[in-house]
């Protein structure tokens, strides 16, 4: 044991003196580490066991909220989807719903269905990307390549709808930006059916793999009470046995007209947390098929807005179920074309709060499995 360091003068605020233990090694996992993403986890290990983990996000902070205050409601759209470009429809969804409340416009029925289809497709695109990284974090290179390849199917589909591969900027207050192409229903149904067939094969190579099960089961267990107490959302919450899905609890647009099932697993370990998004993808395929059936075949897809719409003097908070969990948007309007204050409440940051609790006492080898199973996107947490 090293001698205890006693500060001779008063420390400046924010700094603290740390006693150095010879047994403890401090590892900076990130931001330039293949297993960290755009953030840092300061991990203290004693042998192979993690005694302390301190997530340190903030490397990709872009000031989206401040930027939103100087742009009007329409020009805010392209930059607000930047935090999660892989899930760009879902991160934009609460903002668009909130602006519609403030401006006071109705959305045509067909646009609502198109929005649901686009949002569910985008959820699959995001989860595929997340799953690919989860695979390579566990050293499973085939699970890196397969989702990344199958994701292209849906990206092509989204490109047909919106004209952009990843950053769509498709949802706008009052509907969607443009109509779907002419033969969209057939193409979409075919692609989604094939996609569903493909992702069912992941069970053979990944989810039923005995080594994967032995590695991830009973690691990083988050109990039901802790999951609620720490404020986790989305797949993390549902993996711990809490039946909470905003598509069912607070249905927006036309989710109440569709038969949406939610997936809940009880165990709360890394395996359950990694399996819930995959089950969500299968559920998304069901929802897309239902929406394609019920969608009005013709009609308007957008209510015309005034060129520079002004919101009424009020504040709204809307939230949706994104690929990671609940994504909320709080807008305060002072009757001007720009929002007075815009706050994005994202699930990545909420899920990250659970990380230090889960990593404490785990082995170092479990770190990537636990960390990425939290369905966390570093850029979204920094906003």
């Amino acid at each position: 044991m090293a001698e205890q360091v006693i500060p001779t003068k008063k420390m400046p605020p924010g700094l603290q003196v740390e006693n150095v233990d010879d047994r403890i090694m401090t590892l900076n996992v990130g931001p330039q580490h293949p297993g960290s993403g755009h953030m840092r986890i300061i991990v203290k290990i004693d042998g192979d066991y993690i005694v302390d983990a301190d997530p340190d996000p903030g490397y990709v902070h872009r000031g989206e909220e401040k930027m939103a205050e100087s742009r009007n409601y329409i020009t805010n759209i392209p930059h607000l989807e930047r935090p999660v470009i892989h899930d760009s429809c879902n991160i934009l969804y609460p903002y668009v719903l909130g602006v519609e409340d403030l401006v006071g416009i109705e959305v045509p029925e067909r646009a609502k269905y198109v929005r649901v289809i686009a949002a569910e497709l985008n959820r699959c695109i995001y989860i595929q990307y997340w799953l690919a990284i989860y695979g390579i974090f566990l050293g499973h290179s085939t699970m890196f390549m397969w989702p990344a390849g199958d994701r292209e199917l849906l990206i092509d589909l989204m490109e047909k709808i919106t004209g952009a591969r990843v950053t769509h900027a498709y949802f706008i207050p009052g509907g969607v930006r443009n109509d779907v192409p002419a033969n969209f229903e057939d193409v979409c149904l075919r692609q989604v059916n094939y996609f569903e067939k493909r992702i069912k094969e992941y069970a053979d190579i990944f989810y039923d793999n005995p080594i994967l099960k032995a590695r991830t089961e009973d690691t990083g267990v988050l109990s039901r009470e802790d999951a609620i107490r720490l404020g986790t959302t989305g797949s993390v919450l549902r993996a711990s046995g809490v039946d909470y899905d905003l598509r069912i609890k607070e249905p927006y647009d036309v989710y109440d007209e569709l038969d949406v099932h939610t997936n809940v697993l009880k165990s709360g370990d890394s395996y359950a947390r990694s399996k819930i998004p995959w089950l969500d993808m299968l559920e998304s395929c069901n929802i897309i098929r239902q929406a394609l059936e019920k969608m009005p075949k013709s009609g308007s897809i957008r209510t015309k807005l005034k060129p520079n719409p002004k919101g009424r003097e009020d504040e709204v908070y809307r939230r949706v179920e994104s690929g990671r969990g609940s994504a909320g948007c709080h807008i305060i309007s002072r009757g001007k074309p720009e929002p007075y204050r815009l706050k994005l409440s994202v699930s990545s940051f909420r899920n990250l709060i659970a990380l230090p609790y889960l990593l404490k006492g785990e082995k170092l080898g479990n770190m990537p499995a636990v960390y990425w199973s939290l369905n966390y996107w570093p850029v979204e947490a920094d906003r």
Binding site: G135, I136, F137, G139, T142, R215, L364, G365
Partner: protein
Amino acid sequence: MSVIAPKFRLGYFLKGIFDNAFWILTIVTLAGIPAIQIVLFYLELPVIDGELLTAFLAFTWLFNPTMQIPLIKALIYSDLFRIVAFPGFGFAALIAAGTIFVERKMLAKLQLRVGPFYCGKVEGILQLAGDGLKLISKEIIIPAKADKPLFWAAPVLFVGTAAAFVALIPVAPGGWVVADLDVGLLAVFAVIGFFPIITILSAWSANSKFPFIGGIRALHQMVSFEIPLILSLLGVVILTGTLNLSEIVESQSSFPWIIFMPIGAIVFFTTMLAELERIPFDLPEAESEIVAGWLTEFSGMMYGLVQLGSYLKLYAFAALFVIIFLGGWTGPVFWPPLETELITEGIPIPNYAGDPILTVNTPGLPLLDKDPNEWVLQEQGELVYTSGQLLVSGVIWFVLKTVGVIFFILLPRGVFPRIRLDMLLHIGWYKLIGLSFVNIFIALGLVYAGVIGPGGIL
């Protein structure tokens, strides 16, 4: 401290080429040629056809048709050729290069992608050469606080140890092995024991955290899997009663040992994966946990050397599996006895037996025979196969089996995720050691029951 790349000037470019040519020619003339002459002066050269070969004679005989074949044969049967080319480093490096190519393409097919495609026009066969050139041209960076001599030595030691392992592998009948030891298997165990030491020394000398953790992991893994590795091979040693690898191969002329020792083969294969640090046992290089493990601080050709060493090691382990469990080079002789005819015209081949000037209608083959008279003996019916035929057939069988084993070593990379350290140690210390003891008891049972061994049924 930034370095701005100078603009391209044709004059500078040409000047660079001329400078390089000038210095290369100068160095070759002043140092290279004298060095070759000094080496040739001290080198003990063979006696060919009753005449001592000298450097001068070698150049003369190269253009003399009657002396070309003896000259080349003397080269093939020299020790230098064995070490550098055929059963030694060159052969192993060739198979290692093929392994890398097959690994990339096979993994790509498994993962529904294309793999290397453009380099070399045909399916990216020159990708490896491109990668090698890149590694050579990169700067070698050494951490400021590293223990420099050890850090420099580690990659060289790694390749050297892997090459020593390769040197113990017999490839074909008739003593085609660099070091034919009576305690060959014991020497293999000794060489394998060096790898964890090199790994931990290189990891420690880098003086960095992630390599250190990787080195400790490698030490854990290799030490705990070395014991089942040695135990799993003891069954075959009990059955054959020899440690000489060539004799172990010859004992399998009628059936391979994997028929009686399937448990030992499975244990050895698993330990082999762990010793090679391949998925699912690639913990020392676990990317998402500890960057690149004990290889983190290596850059440029130092990294390339470690990779070369690990692929040489892969070949050597696969070959060891083939030698001990799959019968090495044994198998039906590929080369049927040819209908040879004695003809009187053509290039005469010198013959120790005496007068007949012999040419055979299979060009090149007499080169591989140890003794040119073997063709005559085969013609007279005294010899079934000449040593050249046995060599060709043995090498083909050996390579086929080795490539098959290598394929199964590569396959788990596309199928399994990485396992954890505690699971790895549990597998090593509980399951594999127990299984290898079962294997030894099976071997003892076979010997005492009188099935195999002196006076046995088989």
